[in-house]
Symmetry: C2
Subunit: 206 residues, 2 copies
DNA sequence: CCTTTAGTGACACCGGGTGTCAAGTGTGCG
DNA sequence: CGCACACTTGACACCCGGTGTCACTAAAGG
């Protein structure tokens, strides 16, 4: 019983070290750019060796885009919580609201936007970001397939992937448009516009 | 006039060297995997040094995914050739037919499929593939925006990106489904199914 | 107090990628 | 013919991201 927190004790310091590294790295990235910053510099700035850095992050990339892994589970949960009889397109729109909370988080919003800018302007990171999003989609595709009826879980049915992919395309489009806008409208507004330009066909029922 | 081919002379040997490298590399990749094959091995197998390899390809990745650059221009041209009054969704569907010709190309089809498999199974390459596709989409988005009327070229209008992104999502979905299928239907059939599940809203005309 | 165990740093190493330089291979021109 | 020039190549050294190894330290636990 005395060992009610056998893992947290070590795990918590681990998290602290990770956030510390992330914080230090962000400053260096905005000052020197992503490619212009070496792992040695980040590690040194955090008072540790390169080798130790790689014990906290599997790669330099993961320090930046690792946080997107949380999205996957959060979105999957959010989708599960939608009523089963709700139109899929509407459910997906609501799932994206989960993202908005993250954007809304204000005391770190400037920092997050700076990191997003780095991801967008660094091809290598952007590529990995897209791949992560693709993985998130995979999680949702399975659930959407379940709602599509009997043929749903057939991997050779392209419809679930098409629907989820289209929804993410709308999110991506809204994201890009919102960044290019004067921010007088909310991201949610852009998301609505984007997703309203697309409709799902009446299900062939067959 | 006698110098009617001043650049081709060198450029042609360059192309030859590139295709030779690509061919050799493909064999090594299928035998040892992508990560298990070093640039030194590829270069040696083609009878050159590592340094020379990087004069023909900017990176190891580009040897594999470089060919996708051709897609961008081909698709853009294909879209330009569609009648201006054709529904955009239909135009995009026809543009994807351009891809089919490539798949149809038979005397190298097995080889191409093997490379596609490598791209799909190597996260690093898959990420770069997605990024390339994103760039292709950018080319098409501009053109689609032009067709959408006055607000079309406004970068803060998410609709063009949403439409193009959705179309590519369908292509991706069809691709994945077709690979998982028994190939009794054509890829075009899957593309039709995927794209028919999605409709564009009536333009708000505003 | 002593043993075990996790975390760490130092070091060597690998592979992708680049800069540099010197040697080779033409190609044109005097 | 021979020289000069541009271009290509190979060899070498180097940087950086990432990994395996090992010895050290410090805390947990008997």
């Amino acid at each position: 019983m005395s060992e009610s927190t056998p893992l947290p004790i070590r795990e918590r310091t681990r998290r602290l070290a990770q956030t510390e590294l992330t914080s230090v790295a962000q400053d260096l990235f905005v000052a020197q750019g992503y490619d212009g910053t070496t792992v040695d510099q980040i590690a040194a700035a955090a008072g540790m060796s390169k080798r130790t850095f790689f014990r906290y992050f599997p790669s330099k990339d993961d320090l930046v885009i690792g946080k997107y892994d949380l999205f996957a589970d959060r979105m999957a949960e959010a989708l599960d919580e939608r009523p089963a009889d709700e139109p899929i397109w509407e459910s997906l729109r609501r799932v994206f609201d989960t993202t908005l909370d993250y954007v809304q988080d204000d005391y770190q919003r400037a920092r997050n936007e700076a990191m997003d800018e780095i991801v967008r302007s660094t091809p290598q990171l952007y590529a990995r970001y897209l791949e992560k999003m693709q993985r998130v989609q995979q999680l949702l595709i399975g659930r959407v397939a379940g709602r599509l009826g009997a043929r749903g879980d057939d991997p050779s049915d392209p419809r679930p992937a098409a629907i989820v992919g289209a929804a993410f395309a709308c999110m991506q489009a809204a994201r890009q448009a919102w960044f290019a806008s004067d921010r007088s409208d909310t991201f949610g507004d852009y998301l609505d516009v984007a997703m309203k330009t697309i409709q799902l066909s009446e299900r062939p029922t067959a």
